[in-house]
Symmetry: C3
Subunit: 170 residues, 3 copies
């Protein structure tokens, strides 16, 4: 039932998702803006952090993903469906690993004082809108399977090296 | 040498694999049944756990992947080949992470008493059968590269949060 | 803007990348040779380890990825571009996990004495060349987002099992 036309759209949506996680983990907020539709909705952590509109979402991400947040998010196993001429939806398995090198006021209830490691897995639940020939995220949410926080006393003898360019070529 | 027809079959097999890992980690056994051909064969852990037939495989998975098994399996890097009009085979790199929140009698020789973390990587070795237009797993095996078990004394200062919906929207 | 022809090339480049990581983690150096163009350039660790030519690259990898290096590298989120009739370039998010079961003289400045765990994430930056109908890596580099080394004292109560076949069927 899959058509060749579907494959092209799925490829372009996958490239959008690649840019999204690159924006997140290289902390490239200009790139993040290009990934989001103007009226996008985000509901992270199962809806605990909900934001409406591209600017509010980027502002929220900047508060959480600070320079002291050193992480890698990946999204695999897409299950995508075209829902109209310019709309699509889908889910992706998410896995994240992050190290905190300083306190994180934005994640107050996680009590991040610096030195913690966080790992998690779950699903991205997303909707997409094609505008002027480019797919954008119109809705993005995350529901986790699990999240684990490992705190400092158990993390002796651990050396973390952070590349300032975060994976990009200078 | 790859044809457009190949791309469509590879896409549909990739979607099957996405449903398989979703069934596994959300513990959705009805979905797992739909992923397996009726006469499927499974040989997990390099053949230590071999089961014949869809029902026996699902029964085995239910015994191992209990509510106290909190995990995320991902399969990436497919190397797929069509072997006939309705058959295919392939390998995928597997990575798994799991936390045990209670004892696991089914994994007796791993001595899981609760509190352990398991991580592993390896390859899925698979065969596929297309029935009534849908790809199913007709054979699935795993050979690991490594498996690591980290037990409780080393896992102080660790907080695990499990989402009851395991990544799905309620 | 993506064409069906692009999809076929992207599929074949993705299969090349799958073979590359399989060669790396199963330590199959014959397979690695087939992945590399004769005049390939490699610059690992942001350029610290630079090698010119297929033979020098394979030689370097054999020195680092010894039997005591037990690892899994994955590459996801490709962002690929065709740059000519037989050339392409792209980036992939890299994630690695490795255990050292013995000292590693080749990684002298990491002070690997055996018992360490290394995890990292970053980006592969690659160029490709199509020769006789097959894509090869003509340039491969890695810039990390982070790298973490966890040393032995913190790694008590940990059991590592290595499969001699490293994921392959014997």
């Amino acid at each position: 039932m899959t058509t060749l036309g579907d494959l092209i759209e799925f490829q372009e949506i996958s490239e959008l998702k690649a840019r999204y996680v690159r924006a997140l983990d290289t902390q490239d907020w200009d790139l993040m803006e290009v990934c989001l539709a103007e009226n996008a909705i985000a509901w992270f952590n199962g809806g605990k952090f909900t934001r409406h509109g591209r600017q509010a979402i980027v502002q929220f991400l900047r508060e959480v993903i600070t320079p002291g947040f050193v992480g890698s998010h990946i999204a695999v196993h897409p299950e995508l469906t075209l829902t109209g001429a310019n709309t699509a939806k889908g889910i992706w398995r998410m896995q994240e690993i992050a190290y905190f090198t300083e306190p994180s006021p934005a994640l107050a209830d996680m009590h991040i004082v610096g030195g913690e490691e966080m790992r998690g897995a779950g699903y991205y639940h997303e909707e997409y809108l094609k505008e002027d020939g480019s797919w954008k995220l119109s809705s993005i949410g995350v529901v986790r399977i699990f999240q684990i926080i490992e705190r400092k006393p158990a993390r002796a003898d651990i050396e973390l090296t952070v590349e300032p360019a975060r994976g990009m070529r200078r």
